[in-house]
């Protein structure tokens, strides 16, 4: 169907309304020519009388005389192994001055749902080198673990550090990083690119850049292109893919903008009612397929408007993703990096990736114990502020001190400090060793006997003479 229509009746925001067409399919790719320029769009609503098209590159420059072609096909992404190392725009066109991607395959960007029965349970531990993640909110391959942050917090540094350091224990496997920027500033994009270049990561990365001044509608495409690329790399080329997208808040803003332009009935805070499903379709494209070598691990970053975790974007995201890493303003103000607050943070897949055969048998117990006393210590800070430290019981004083030391030694680490999981657990044990042994109620005696510094030292001493 290559007929050209010049029957645009209305142009409104990012939408054009086209009249009297042959039957047009829902979600079909549309090309619009005006002057010498080619814009692309997608069918949002189709009926006998009128077709509504959203234009990805913005409607600027379009007029009633612009020529509209319905391609009869849905949007597809050209893919080949040479895509690795490229910098593309938010709509998938080269942005690095290089040639167009010569496709080996074309893939629909909408992405079908993975059959839950074909999924492999994620259980391969990924070491990020960050104690608050590895030790207490462990990431596993195939997981989607967002970073919930706020404006002005160093979430990008955390994401970069993860991208740099992420590895599995023992094996060298081919892996790739996909970076999708949605509506971030040029400066932030430079920061990411510079870091990728500095560390050589760009050679195994694909970058999609939709900057703050690029059309907002294009943002709706960006994660879909990134994820389609990720599926290709993971399930066709057997690579382990880590996909970072920032900032999901901008993506959702675009959805809202589209909803408003279509005069839809708005849901919570004006976001469209289908935002949950839309986000789910993106986030659920993480995972591992049984019998395939590759995997897709997602790290979406979203800034919570006003640090409000109940805002629809973090709220709906939290229901779909497998946990969240919370970047805390309070810790950041204390000068602690990475300012990850472990209390509201969670990794839902942690249990399948830790313990014997994955990390170490005492991992769960140590993590629970650290959590328990850090949470209690935080509560005690409130009390200490009212009654003074001296009025606290001996036990409470110990817990309070523990919380302070925990932040300084366990949470705090260098931007290039790549701790192994065993170093992380050691720090945990060192902190717990300052508490009386009877307070370690969440740790089995047999682990205490092996890993508690008091006994671990003794065990080593008896081993030493053998050498």
């Amino acid at each position: 169907m290559t007929k050209e229509y010049k029957t645009i009746t209305e142009i409104k925001g990012p939408l054009i309304f086209v009249e009297k067409t042959e039957p047009v399919g829902y979600n079909e790719l549309v090309e619009i020519r005006t002057g010498g320029e080619l814009k692309r769009g997608q069918v949002l609503d189709t009926s006998d009388e009128i077709v509504v098209v959203q234009v990805f590159e913005g409607t600027g420059g379009l007029s009633k005389d612009s020529a509209v072609t319905f391609t009869g096909d849905v949007i597809k992404m050209p893919l080949s192994p040479s895509i690795i190392g490229r910098v593309l725009s938010g709509s998938g066109r080269p942005r690095d001055g290089g040639p167009e991607i010569v496709p080996e395959v074309l893939r629909e960007i909408a992405g079908a749902a993975i059959n839950p029965a074909c999924r492999e349970k994620p259980r391969a531990f990924i070491q990020t080198g960050i104690s608050t993640i590895d030790g207490t909110n462990t990431l596993v391959r195939g997981q989607k673990l967002p970073i919930f942050s706020g404006a002005g917090l160093p979430h990008n540094d955390v994401a970069l550090q993860i991208a740099r350091q992420a590895k599995t224990l023992g094996e060298a496997e081919s892996f790739a990083v996909i970076f999708c920027a949605m509506g971030i500033t040029n400066e932030e994009a430079q920061h990411f690119l510079a870091d990728f270049e500095r560390t050589g990561a760009l050679e195994r990365a694909v970058v999609f850049l939709n900057l703050a001044d690029d059309p907002a509608v294009e943002r709706i495409l960006t994660p879909r292109l990134g994820l389609t690329t990720a599926e290709y790399l993971a399930f066709d080329l057997d690579m382990h893919v880590l996909i970072i997208y920032t900032d999901m808040t901008n993506y959702c803003e675009s959805l809202r903008q589209m909803g408003a332009a279509r005069e839809e009935v708005p849901g919570r805070r004006g976001y469209p009612g289908y935002m949950y499903t839309d986000l789910a379709i993106q986030y659920e494209r993480a995972g591992i397929i049984r019998g395939k070598k590759g995997s897709i691990t997602q790290f979406p970053i979203l800034t919570m408007p006003g640090d409000d975790i109940t805002h629809p974007i973090p709220d709906l995201s939290g229901y779909i993703t497998e946990g969240q890493i919370i970047v805390s303003r309070e810790l950041h103000r204390k000068g602690i990096y990475p300012p990850i607050d472990i209390r509201p943070s969670l990794s839902r897949l942690m249990n399948s990736g830790i313990g014997k055969g994955h990390t170490r048998e005492d991992h769960r117990a140590v993590s629970d114990q650290l959590y328990a006393y850090y949470a209690e210590g935080n509560d005690l800070r409130g009390l200490a502020a009212i009654v003074g430290k001296e009025a606290l019981s001996e036990r409470d004083k110990l817990v309070l001190e523990f919380a302070d030391k925990f932040e300084k030694r366990f949470v705090n680490q260098g931007r290039d400090e790549d701790r192994t999981i065993f170093e992380t657990l050691q720090i945990g044990w060192d902190l717990l060793a300052d508490l009386p042994e009877s307070m370690l109620t969440r740790i089995d005696d047999k682990f205490i006997k092996v890993y508690h510094p008091k006994y671990a030292g003794a065990a080593k001493a008896t081993e030493a003479p053998k050498k």
Partner: protein
């Protein structure tokens, strides 16, 4: 059957003309024949929700009628199945379309080719009525599948009945009026299956979770809600319940849940061993998995598919537990579809009929005299995930109006790694009074007394903690310091229970009772010691107290507990 034409496509909602279909009839949209349901009729236009992705569907494509509403296929072979929201087996879908689910696939809910051995239990000449069992099939090693005359059948005398191996489509009996009975029933999912009468909730549903059985019990046939914001341990709770509740059949509906978690469940479930029978738990389970990225209309239907299958096994006289995770995602699906239909939104954009739909669903639960003459039950545990943990939002509020048990999951407890993270102050069970006689008769006459004592201590503890926050615990009178300590023991030694620990994950009634009694006994000793002039620190440092903490981890706990209690006795006597 009429064939209509697509007029308009916008997302999962399609308008078509030229149809005669009734409301909720199943129709097939487009060249690919996408499964869809009529959800509105106006003038000559039918409004249709499509269970699959509508990308590429054009105006002018055909819409075929099927003449029937969305039905569940019921018969031997349902157990062990893993379905999507509209009862298509996921493994069959994978055979047809590979790792990703493609569109327009038709797969039967149960195998129509497999032969089952049918053993009649009525004979020629017997008069049978609707719902009555006429024969049995050994569906799984331990589960007999009763073949019943379909509900609403007028029944009659048996003219012929055959023993032997049959497929579900073959006739196993003929009645005098000539009507043929097969092992397959089809039932519209949106309609409740009939019973003779609903019964009072007087039997507890044992879950092996101390905080539930001990404090907030659920009755067989009861309804419970687990509200919890994300990260409160809701999913782990529900999975623990599926593993441990003493029901015959477990139906798990993952409605809009995470793919990886479904994978985990599908991975773990087949490996689970039923503690009572040492057989795989999967042999008595049915899973509906409609993850959040699968089509929204199928998500809406998944709850009804699950309930219909649950009711079918109830009708055989089984106790069924249906877990719906989560009803908020289901309500979300309703909201999304309502918004696509441009319906006038009610509270927070949910359709005005939200409350009515939730009520219809929860009312299908219950213990009942079934048509067959026996008794069966469907207990429902529905998860709600209120946005931002806000319990005043419409789904939670409407749910709380319907359910009798509320297990308030608390993210503060999760943060402290206290599991199950059920808040003991905010939760309630309205079955409490109905179930008390059962516990007194079957477990221990002291059951209720101890429970009230423990609850009172926790209540007092909550009040004292507020004071402690202000002045510190040392400023409290000594007896109140003991209360704090005992409450801490109840919380850490009894309410906390590890789902990961091989022994602690399931706690029988008697052990629950004995452990709580032991903690209360400690309190008696402590109060006694105080009056004899001992200090709080002395009492707190009694070694048997710490030993008591680990008794729950013992499978043969009784000798260990006896030893600890004997030590406690002598240690308190030795205090000076």
């Amino acid at each position: 059957m009429e064939v209509g034409k697509v007029k308009r496509v916008a997302g999962p909602v399609v308008q078509a003309t030229g149809l005669k279909a009734s409301m909720y009839d199943l129709v097939l949209v487009g060249e690919e024949g996408l499964m869809s349901e009529v959800i509105g009729i106006s003038g000559n236009k039918h409004v249709i929700q499509v269970y699959e992705d509508t990308g590429g569907v054009r105006p002018g494509e055909p819409v075929k009628e099927t003449g029937a509403p969305l039905v569940a296929q019921l018969g031997p072979g349902i157990l062990t199945s893993i379905y999507d929201g509209i009862q298509r087996p996921l493994t069959k879908l994978a055979e047809e379309s590979g790792d990703f689910i493609s569109r327009g696939l038709f797969v039967d809910g149960i195998d129509h080719k497999k032969k089952w051995e049918f053993k009649p239990i009525v004979k020629k000449g017997d008069v049978v009525k609707a719902g009555q069992t006429i024969g049995e099939v050994q569906e799984q090693l331990l589960i007999k599948h009763k073949i019943m005359v379909p509900p609403r059948h007028k029944g009659g005398a048996i003219k012929e009945i055959y023993a032997g191996n049959f497929t579900i489509d073959e006739t196993v009996a003929v009645l005098e009026d000539g009507s043929k009975i097969t092992m397959l029933q089809k039932w519209p999912v949106r309609q409740a299956r009939p019973t003779i009468k609903k019964l009072a909730p007087t039997i507890p549903l044992r879950t092996g979770q101390r905080v539930i059985d001990g404090f907030f019990p659920l009755a067989k046939g009861g309804t419970a809600a687990i509200p919890g914001g994300f990260g409160t341990g809701k999913t782990v709770m529900q999975q623990t319940l599926s593993k441990w509740a003493d029901v015959d059949i477990v139906v798990y509906v993952g409605c809009g849940e995470r793919g990886n978690e479904m994978a985990d469940l599908l991975h773990e479930f087949p490996e689970l061993v039923d503690p009572r029978t040492n057989r795989p738990l999967m042999e008595r389970s049915i899973v509906f998995a409609n993850t959040s990225n699968m089509p929204v209309a199928a998500r809406e239907a998944s709850i009804y598919s699950g309930m219909t299958v649950s009711e079918y096994y109830r009708d055989m006289g089984y106790d069924v537990m249906m877990t719906a995770d989560s009803t908020s995602r289901w309500a979300e699906a309703m909201r999304e579809l309502a918004s696509r239909l441009e319906e006038m939104p009610g509270e927070e954009g949910y359709p005005a009929y939200l409350g009515a739909r939730l009520a219809d669903f929860y009312e299908r639960a219950g213990r009942a005299d079934v048509l067959d003459g026996g008794q069966g039950s469907v207990s429902v545990v529905g998860a709600v995930s209120p946005p931002g943990g806000d319990f005043t939002e419409p789904v939670t509020q409407n749910t709380l109006r319907m359910v009798k048990v509320f297990w308030a999951l608390d993210s503060k407890l999760t943060q402290r790694r206290h599991f199950p993270s059920i808040n003991w102050l905010d939760s309630y069970s309205l079955y409490d009074k109905d179930l008390e006689p059962w516990f007194v008769d079957n477990i221990n006459p002291e059951w209720n007394k101890n429970k009230s004592r423990a609850m009172a201590l926790l209540q007092e503890n909550a009040e004292l903690e507020e004071i402690v926050m202000l002045v510190g615990s040392d400023a409290l009178p000594e007896d109140q310091q003991i209360t704090l300590e005992v409450a801490r023991m109840i919380i850490n030694f009894w309410l906390a229970q590890s789902a990961m620990h091989p022994v602690d994950t399931f706690c029988p009634y008697k052990k629950q009772f004995d452990l709580l009694a032991a903690i209360l006994k400690f309190r008696d000793y402590a109060v006694d010691a105080l009056t004899k002039g001992m200090s709080v620190d002395q009492i707190k440092s009694v070694p048997a107290k710490d030993a008591l903490a680990k008794v729950r981890l013992e499978s043969e706990y009784e000798p260990v507990l006896q030893k600890v209690m004997a030590e406690m006795d002598s240690e308190f006597k030795a205090l000076k």
